[in-house]
Assembly symmetry: C2
Homo-oligomer: 321 residues x 2
């Protein structure tokens, strides 16, 4: 439940020094959790395997969150947990607090906010994991102070969060699927469509396409980038394809939305200027009168989603004084 | 100056029955004007050539508007003009009421709202012409009641207005340039970029590309569509290219923004199902798990921009009670 006002870094202290938000990120493999304190810092970050009963995935998540809440209360007796910020992958209706669909985790139309509020008696937000990471980057990270921003997380796939006028675009839970927008030269995608950006532009695609082309197994995109730096022509071609695909998608955003900055995170962003320099050049070459987005490296790290989950719950507290 | 609240069809009567908004649409060739009354109806629609002094384009527009206001006051003595809604093409900063740039009309960073309010003593809004036409379609036209909508006007070029969560996306004046986003198979564009949608998908492109391919001059896209219907293979190929380019762009919007409806207006929309049926099929084929946008024909007609201009000024009156 995100307030519909344009969001800015939250105003004034919502939490007292002895209060915290419990932030929980339910992933396909692991569930991460932490307390977010009044200074927007995470404390007690933990990771445990996500274990859900088949056919009862939503109820299992609620039970796990109740157990995790108990653990934090026991371990941090002097911190009062004021609210819970839960995030998850898949199609999420943040306004209603409903998990529309998650193929990996196995729920459909599950009312997380309602069930968790009933189970804990605390205010709860339920948000999208990548959207929450985007919130953190826009509100207190790389794009702080900017209004028209796209956050792209480039790893196994490409996930996105789109901000216009300071507001994240929700699209009924369907917005931000930049990795599943078509690019020229794209390949058949596991999603069922053809030519999706992530079939060429993701770190996973760089590793897979290099292995296919060279007949040589590699240990991820990082190794392909090392081969490219050493002059390997096949690695160069595969990285060029990724850069062109990413530039194509970024220019679509610039033309359609007037995006002023693109924040790039995830594994591929660790390539630094080896990625950013050619990507800037490719974007620059494609645009004419359009607004030219700055390309920025994500600054919030791997726990951006947890921080964003905490910020969402803080907003809710701020809106329900 | 658009209020930042999510807009819905405006609430309650802002205008009394004896009051009106003066709506003015300054185009590259003609200036249209009308009174918008309390029932959102246009009265006294007029069209005159746009005449601007070279080098003083902005000031000329202000003088012309003052003259037009005088004419309407004389012709409609029993209607009190409460506000002026002015719209124009080019890059427009609606929040500041500034014309950032218009290549055709010749201004740069001209403060229309400020100057017109000083010259007339009335509240003034200054908006983008296509954005205003989009406002009309979303608020009282084809997309009434929908929140995530793109309005595409397909004529000589392709212009757009993008709505997310009921709000038009502004992007500092740069949003909505769907016609200048790249598509596969696109050609060099007069904007300086390559492959823009409007080089293949616009009515103008259909006529030009058929003439180039067949060596036969045609009287606009309408004639190419007639030739297609009669079995002309070259016409079929050119229309197929346009449909595929438009479908590509619509699917970008669906993936990125979760667009639920695309309203198509402009000359090409008059082709009706000859355009809409293959376009629906092409969009449907490209998408997988994405939200599938409905394709709707624009319903507000050629004066949609004037109506939208009037609605913008009504909003301003509603926000300054």
């Amino acid at each position: 439940m995100i307030p519909s006002e344009p969001t800015s870094p939250h105003q004034g202290p919502v939490l007292a020094p002895d209060e915290a938000i419990l932030a929980i990120d339910v992933g396909g493999t692991d569930t991460k959790s932490a307390l977010l304190d009044s200074a927007d810092q995470l404390q007690g970050v933990q990771r445990r395997p996500t274990v859900l009963r088949p056919g009862e995935a939503g109820d299992s998540v609620v039970e796990n969150v109740v157990a995790i809440l108990g653990e934090y209360r026991a371990a941090w007796p002097h911190k009062r947990v004021r609210a819970i910020g839960l995030i998850a992958p898949g199609l999420v209706d943040e306004r209603k607090g409903v998990g529309i669909f998650s193929a990996n985790l196995g729920w459909r139309d599950y009312p997380f906010t309602e069930r968790l509020e009933a189970a804990t008696g605390l205010p709860v937000t339920f948000g999208h994991d990548v959207g929450a990471a985007g919130d953190a980057e826009v509100r207190i990270g790389a794009a702080r102070g900017l209004a028209d921003v796209v956050v792209m997380i480039i790893g196994t796939g490409v996930a996105g969060a789109v901000f216009c006028g300071g507001q994240r675009i929700l699209g009924g839970g369907y917005a931000g699927e930049i990795g599943h927008a078509e690019v020229p030269g794209g390949e058949p995608c596991r999603c069922g469509a053809h030519g999706c950006l992530e079939t060429v532009g993701a770190a996973g695609a760089i590793a897979r396409r290099y292995a296919e082309r060279s007949g040589r197994a590699v240990n991820g995109a990082r190794e392909v980038l090392q081969l490219q730096a050493a002059g390997d022509a096949q690695a160069q071609a595969v990285v060029d394809d990724a850069v062109n695909a990413l530039a194509f998608s970024i220019c679509q955003l610039a033309a359609t939305l007037g995006t002023e900055a693109v924040v790039i995170g995830g594994g591929l962003a660790q390539a630094g200027e080896q990625l950013f320099a050619p990507l800037r050049a490719a974007v620059d070459e494609r645009l004419s009168f359009h607004r030219r987005p700055r390309l920025l490296a994500a600054s919030m790290g791997q726990d951006a989603g947890l921080i964003g989950a905490g910020l969402q719950a803080q907003d809710l507290l701020g809106a329900r004084p």
